[in-house]
Amino acid sequence: MEEEGVVKKFLYLNRKAPYGTIYALESLEVVLIGAAFEQDVSLAFIDDGVYQLKKDQKTSVSDGIGVKDFSKTYRALEGYDVEKLYVDKKSMEERGLSEEDLIVPVEVLEDTKMAELMEEQDVVFSF
């Protein structure tokens, strides 16, 4: 199944908040399966996508929504050698979020840097 030796730059672009739609969860599922292919993986979180990384997600039935909390999966990514997580600076600021609010360490990028990151990629998955 794997093309021997070929390593491409894969970017997972996440722009939607978790739980309201399935895109965040199913995007993460691709990252986890994709890890086995040992490609050069980055994750970018822009617009409402930054909420995917927010700490203290309360999703149990008693908390109100009764949906499985998958936020700790982002912490498990390191174990899959997926360590390059980028968030968009303006998106964070617009939502009153700082790095301390997030569940994993990230690199905060200005929009020109984010554009440069995208330019470098071979494959961009946008969910």
Binding site: E3, K8, F10, E26, E29, V30, I33, Q39, F125, F127
Partner: protein
């Protein structure tokens, strides 16, 4: 050029499937290769054998089946997304002890690895979504 296509939305709900189809068809007419068309999220619903859309408008599922047949396209529905949404082929239906299967002609169910492989093997992956 060798393209891979990713369709992230279901038929009729969004234009994604139409746009992907038009792109795929145009690319093939221009002599490009389509390595795979992968359906994810609600996109798996493009593979339903049971759609009965109004007769005076395009039949999105059949259109994909026909294009696949004409050009030997590999149309793949993601198994995880398909299971969530009740899209089962004969094997899956037996495995999951369900009393029906519903995959249309020309589509097959497989894992997300097929999407990653498509990204690796193609020169450009095109995403059609919301």
């Amino acid at each position: 050029m060798k393209f891979a296509i990713l369709v992230n939305e279901g038929p009729y709900q969004h234009q994604a499937s139409d746009s992907a189809y038009q792109f795929t068809k145009a690319a093939l007419e221009k002599g490009h290769d389509i390595f795979r068309v992968f359906f994810y999220h609600d996109g798996v619903n493009n593979g339903s054998r049971l759609t009965v859309p109004p007769q005076d408008d395009r039949h999105i599922v059949n259109r994909w089946s026909e294009l696949a047949k004409e050009h030997s396209l590999d149309l793949v529905l993601c198994i995880a997304a398909a299971q969530r949404r009740g899209m089962l082929d004969e094997n899956e239906a037996k495995r999951q002890k369900k009393d029906a299967n519903n995959i249309a002609e020309g589509f097959r169910i497989s894992g997300l690895g097929q999407l990653i492989e498509a990204g690796i093997q193609s020169e450009r992956l095109m995403v059609f979504g919301d």
